[in-house]
Subunit: 174 residues, 3 copies
């Protein structure tokens, strides 16, 4: 088993940009035990189908966890030097926190504070959502703001940051 | 006439990012015979005016073709070692295929399979549409998914991939 | 006081991408006298709160100006070799011009023509808004087109252009 340096990687990209696939390739090439932490809730059939498809695509060598809200608690529970955790994705976590009317700034700070304490390698995936027209409704604007602030915090702590478009990674840090 | 290597180039960018102009500059500098393949349908006056303006901007040294659906068939029909074809754009082709309820995966695969067989240099232009807020309606979400998957397929086959913003190219591959 | 070369810098990014903060860091590191030119109008409480927060974040070492429409006139009025002006942001200026039904092409050209004549260093910030789904309404599409054209013009004149995502700058020119 090849154990690489313990670092946080942050992968940002648009819808269907290939960011999850790129994240999975980093996980596989790390040689560490593979853990997948899904933050999404399967609200409807469209979402259920996507989740099932992703799980099938990854195959049986992954341990899958689901946690829509307590991201830090779950990461601490499954922490370990021999593993890598792919967190997919931060934007769904933000959505869940907003629906539960959590203290966003507090939750983000707790996650940022946790990162240097993690023993596992962490690979975060998130959707860039701030490059279109300003949304009509306040909630969507708030969501963009929360996601953007969280992305800045994670990118500041990460050892490597990639922007993905058309399946191709562009290294922005590291 | 300078005949460069026969390769596929993929140019991705936002609305009014200057991606068509950059594509045209690549075509002109290739020294090959210039062909323009428009995939857009002129549904209304707004669209007609845009198409006419683009055509006037390119000037008379280009041969213009129009094909909203059978992209591979048209590319094969106008193929040749002495020419370069600018396909503008893939997102409009995706729109047309969706309206005709075609088998998207099959169409995309046929195009990807064609690329290595082309004798002409091919320069594809497309709009990145996946970096805003998740759209409210299902059709727009499906469109983002289709466009994103196609972009990944074309980028994987292309020799060079550029992301364009504010008229400036950022090389992502090649 | 460190007086750097007199150049125009253009910083493009999404919502909450950290573009204003990056622009401010360039201004501070220039060693020049700091001027802030706000183009936004405080239409509602949400906007007022954002403006007040930004002003508080910058602190008292900045001279703040407000000008929603006559950008060239204001830049000429506060011009000087000992200073740097952060213009935040071009997209709000475009919005204001559209609301007043100004001649957009004429306004953009006047700004582009002014840039080489400025004695102050100019740091422009703007939102990239063209990377999402095509908006439903005509005005939003026109806005995207105007913003995209202006971005290309400013980027062509600028000595340095940065694309910002997750707080990280990606140099596209310079």
């Amino acid at each position: 088993m090849t154990v690489g340096p313990i670092t946080t990687v942050f992968i940002l990209g648009g819808a269907r940009s290939g960011k999850s696939r790129f994240a999975e390739s980093l996980v596989v090439s790390s040689g560490l035990n593979r853990h997948y932490l899904a933050t999404g809730r399967a609200w409807d059939e469209e979402m259920q189908a996507r989740i099932a498809q992703h799980r099938a695509d990854r195959g049986p060598s992954w341990t899958t966890h689901e946690e829509p809200l307590d991201l830090v608690g779950k990461l601490a529970a499954i922490d370990g030097e021999d593993r890598v955790v792919l967190i997919d994705c931060l934007t769904l976590w933000v959505t869940n926190l907003m629906m539960e009317q959590r203290d966003m700034a507090g939750e983000f700070l707790a996650l940022a504070d946790y990162l240097p304490r993690a023993k596992a390698r962490l690979v975060f995936v998130s959707n860039e959502v701030g490059l279109g027209i300003v949304p009509d409704n306040r909630m969507a604007r708030d969501f963009r703001d929360h996601a953007g602030r969280l992305h800045q915090m994670i990118a500041a702590k990460a050892a490597e940051v990639y922007f993905i478009a058309a399946g191709l990674p562009l290294k922005m840090k590291g």
